[in-house]
Symmetry: C2
């Protein structure tokens, strides 16, 4: 394997939905950095680690990094810079270094800060593609997310009622990421425009906690967790 820092996509959650290429690079790496967050109860939580463990990647080469959740942007960036400098050092020591992300590492992934930091400093970087959550959700529900001339719009948690209505009226399929952040808007749209089809997903690909429904009452009565996603068909 030629020497660069690999940004490896783990896919949506099911360890079998990683690619052959990504698995091989994980197995060959000397050191793997994975994102971890601290829950309200103070426990370290990492879906990436869950996937790595299920893939039986040697625990000795796994190093967590805290995902900066700081609303203060300059503090968050400082935190990413520290992680990046650490990764740069491992790389320069000659270690085959990898950084992992859930889903695809270039699709709404926060590790792009690290990637950009290294690229700016002329460290060779490589991105290995993976399946984004919305693709896994479509497969789980057995729907054809888009076909023929249909257009698709992806909105990351910032959907307004006006925008959603406009997209639906013009026949677009909508992916809403981070539904929890705009759940009042979404629930209002469901009540106002029940003629559309609302496919709702939690933890797609995670055995045991995966949930899917297109029943509108079930969605309206649901408290919406962080890992949630919606596919709305006009």
């Amino acid at each position: 394997m030629c020497h660069s820092v690999r940004f490896i996509s783990l896919g949506p959650g099911d360890p079998d939905l990683i690619t052959i290429k990504a698995l091989r690079v994980l197995q060959q790496a000397d050191i793997i950095f994975y994102p971890s967050t601290i829950s309200k109860s103070g426990r370290a939580v990492s879906r990436a680690l869950d996937i790595l463990n299920q893939l039986e990647i040697s625990a000795g080469k796994l190093y967590p990094f805290a995902v900066p959740m700081n609303k203060n942007r300059s503090l968050a960036i400082e935190s990413y810079n520290n992680i990046s400098a650490n990764i740069e050092e491992k790389y320069k020591n000659g270690q085959e270094t990898a950084v992992v992300a859930e889903g695809d590492a270039g699709f709404y992934s926060s590790i792009h800060y690290i990637y950009d930091y290294l690229a700016e400093r002329k460290i060779p970087v490589e991105h290995i593609a993976g399946i984004p959550a919305f693709i896994a959700c479509g497969a789980l529900a057995g729907i054809h997310t888009v076909k023929q001339e249909e257009e698709l719009i992806v909105i990351p948690g910032t959907a307004t009622g006006e925008a959603l209505s406009e997209y639906l009226q013009s026949g677009k399929t909508i992916i809403v990421m981070k539904v929890s952040q705009c759940q009042d808007t979404i629930k209002l749209i469901i009540r106002q425009q029940p003629r559309h089809t609302y496919h709702y997903f939690e933890n797609a690909g995670v055995a045991g906690t995966e949930y899917y429904t297109s029943n509108q009452n079930d969605i309206l009565n649901r408290s919406i967790p962080y890992f949630s996603l919606m596919i709305i068909k006009p």
Copy 2:
């Protein structure tokens, strides 16, 4: 493996970008239907077959089906119905039957006709997710297709200049599929609005013919083939 017709996503072209799950199901299947088209010179062309061959799937279980290219919609549907009836028969004979698609089988894939036909006739169907071409293109170019609050719009070959301008003005990232079908529009936009970044791709993931540039003159002078895709960043 429980008995259903499997719709297997092959990913963007690089055989190593198939998932572990998809590869296992391909290896276990008794019969695999793959799409094939006839080129202008009369030769059968199938990127799906190229991938299956590189994955060393036994040739004896591979069966091509002609992708209906007929502009007459009812003839195309009749053709899909015939393929679907053939697949149904194999399934009912007790064979582990799979149908493959490039990219993801639920994302602008024509095999949804077959899937829907079988589902309507109460044949159990399963969709195994794969990496869509645009994700592989982003990885190849080393760009972060979308991040944070950015919105993404996917347009399949039907882009108008007005729509593209409006999306760019509102800060959306645009994926244009089948660039060849709207190349005059795209080239005009590049000339009129050179301040945006135009990432252009051909045959992403196909060794030997893969091509990427973000040089605007190169794109303007290029004759655009069928398997082309563009990521436009505002």
